[in-house]
Amino acid sequence: MMEFMEGSHAVAHSVKHCRPEVIAAYPITPQTHIVEALAEMVANCHLDAEYITVESEFSALSACLGASAAGSRVYSATTSQGLALMFEVCFNCAGMRMPVVMSIVNRALGAPLSIWNDQQDSISLRDSGWLQFYAEDNQEAADLHYLAYKVAEDRNVLLPAFVCFDGFILSHTYEPVDMLTQEQADSYLPRYTPVQRLDSTDPISFGLFASPDYYMEFRYQIDQAVKGAAKTIAMAGREFGEMFGRDYSNLVESYRLDDADCAIVAMGSICGTVKDAIDEMRKDGKKVGLLRLRSFRPFPNKEVRSALSGVNCVAVLDKNISLGTKGAVALEVRDALYGQQVPVLDYIIALGGRDVRKKDIRAVVDMAGQGKGDLFHGLRQELVS
């Protein structure tokens, strides 16, 4: 049913549909509307879950880990500094193979302190073993939560997953969203059955330490599981499409890319602006297309390579920066295209909520055409010269 909803509320409703049994979260802007909405649902018996009002994000994810180990489906949401505080637990959840699902309402990381959007937070956790999905709009942000649980809990995966969507730009924006009903959600996502759990009738030890004789093999298995998740995503995404008409089987989305000379690569809400800019540029005769990454982990290497095989230049929009080198997306796209002659140019944009307009996208495409890139776009030159 189509409803006009704030992004955070759409997400909270789809999380409710997923029937998490334990929720642990700590308030942080701009994640608050989600966890407030869930607390209200619990308070009014619309959601039958244990809601733990923890004293920090660190404990939020730790509590989720414990509840997951005890056999419950769990949920948390955070952003930015909160995610940074969870760093240690993030690696732990993945290493211990706990299928925790967490919304990341993308926000810049300090210093300087900023509550506004970029994707530095989740991208900084790229090595942690969590699956990472990025939504373009509120519809997708809501839908990807069903998908995330389905994939994370799959016996061939058993990994935690981030559902990332841009803070304020999506979280605080009203859009029409086609919400599933509880019955639809239940038919897609069955109740959680853990593969193993803390249970006195079958007393397993979780989280042993591994000597050099074992450590590498455990890390290898996690890597295999992250890579292998691509197949599960394809299946779960296709099933979602068959049931509800929105297909998420592909880890990437191509927009007017077939005959493009120049391809833009981006993730998240900026892709809406990019698509509009592309439509305008097309009218002017410029053959520009977009490759949007919906999944950053697993990284869609094959899909990127095949989608970008015919273009003459690639312009990556990075809402993050690996300080001292480049944006993370560009580095990985370049790796995916290794051996091909196409230049991959990186544009660091929109950090800390800096607005990006259609004319910025046009400027980036122009620069890419001239071979000019690997730079910050949109800087106030008068402040840095």
Partner: protein, 86 residues
């Protein structure tokens, strides 16, 4: 050999590690002096002192590290620590 998911393990596998080889002193139980009070079994950090049918303490030398707490605590001096001869 399949690894336990997420570095998990079935219970009680520690037993495969026989810590008796650590021992330099060996507790000898003098049954004639033993009052069967059970204190040695209680205080043993390894938990490797069982009781026989008569209530006499029976150490498991495969695991006893020879720490000597049992001998130290025995109220009847019924346990003597002897240098291990291997």
């Amino acid at each position: 050999m399949a690894l336990g998911l997420g570095c998990s393990a079935k219970p009680g596998k520690a037993k495969e590690n026989r810590t008796g080889s650590w021992r330099t002193f060996r507790p000898e139980f003098l049954h004639e002096k033993c009052t069967k009070c059970g204190l040695c079994s209680l205080v043993c950090p390894e938990g490797c002192i069982a009781e026989d049918g008569e209530g006499q303490p029976v150490p498991d030398y495969d695991y006893c590290k020879g720490c000597g707490i049992c001998a130290e605590e025995c109220p009847g001096q019924a346990i003597e620590m002897k240098k291990e001869e291997k």
